[in-house]
Symmetry: C2
Subunit: 204 residues, 2 copies
């Protein structure tokens, strides 16, 4: 990476992010991070002490870019259908800008059963509670069909996140290029919320 006028620590974090996102904790190499940052290995240790701590910093940053945004929409003061539209739209945009993020997070959670204790603080922690209550109330009022609120939230998340997790598989199987894939995700910003709303809107 070309040296630019920016703190070494930031440069390291950005290089580490790229490498960890691509290869995971176990697969990443400190040498590659150093190369991408345009520095040497010793300096990585000078700034972050160990590979593990560097990883923790990158992982925490990943959670911090995605979880607060999710919670903000979960807690927004919006009618349910508007909330679903806003969530799908904003979350898809976020993922288009950070396509490696979901796979990275999921992968490392599965490899570190203790992640909840290690990383989830009171601020950085997905909190669907308000949305779950909102769904339950709308169902009781008959504004949507009867659903298990947790199933609905999982479904909404899955519809947004899954294509990014499975991107390489989708490309490999269907033959769509990265550009076509992006257009597909662009289309999904509107497709997903209408899909979900249709699924839960009562029929006359």
């Amino acid at each position: 990476m070309v040296k630019v006028d920016k703190s070494t620590e930031k440069t390291i974090l950005e290089a580490a992010k790229r490498v960890f996102h691509e290869r995971g904790l176990a697969g990443a190499r400190m040498q590659q991070i150093a190369d991408e940052a345009g520095i040497n290995k010793a300096l990585l240790h000078y700034y972050f002490r160990s590979k593990d701590q560097l990883f923790k910093a990158v992982f925490a940053a990943a959670l911090a870019t995605v979880i607060p945004q999710i919670n903000e929409i979960f807690d927004a003061d919006l009618p349910l259908f508007e909330k679903i539209r806003t969530f799908a739209d904003r979350y898809t945009i976020l993922l288009m800008q950070n396509p490696y993020l979901p796979g990275f997070i999921i992968q490392e959670i599965n490899n570190n059963p203790n992640f909840a204790n290690d990383y989830l603080t009171s601020e950085i922690r997905p909190n669907p509670e308000k949305l779950l209550v909102q769904i339950r109330k709308e169902a009781e009022a008959g504004n949507i069909i009867a659903v298990n609120p947790l199933q609905l939230v999982i479904s909404l998340l899955g519809l947004c996140v899954f294509p990014f997790i499975a991107a390489e598989m989708i490309k490999g199987v269907t033959g769509v290029t990265s550009e076509q894939f992006n257009r597909l995700m662009e289309e999904r910003r509107k497709y997903v919320p209408e899909f979900v709303i249709n699924a839960i809107k009562p029929r006359p």
Copy 2:
């Protein structure tokens, strides 16, 4: 692992499957596989030559347990709604029996950009073509609303697979136990297909 009367090769493959599924290629250790198989490292190399080849065998087996089943339903001679119900039901059962499988496959695909060439043969390759055509025809006939067929297939897959990929996250955040999670997936066998059918059924 307790020694039982079964071929060493099979014992190794089962142990390797457990370890690779949990830790991925880079994170797995040949020593751990040997321990779980109740043998020593040298024997692993005697049977599979290298870690890489052992991994390839496990990965190919993983694809072989899931892809043919998917294709069978994709290609079945069923009306669309029945196909959706069958797919969600059977695929969810399959994943409940192999919960590590999706995460394992996704993780290694993302770490090996060349996987399509390495692993996808003419038999072992997801083939949604017939289902895509079927969806297009149903939409043209007005039996379902207008949709991009690929979006619909991705959605159906995501609704089934995502909860398993995100299982640890879901448990960590909501506090549901593994047993409660299984009940949730059990419920999903019916929930997902009705959700999807509702989403695409035309309104009067």
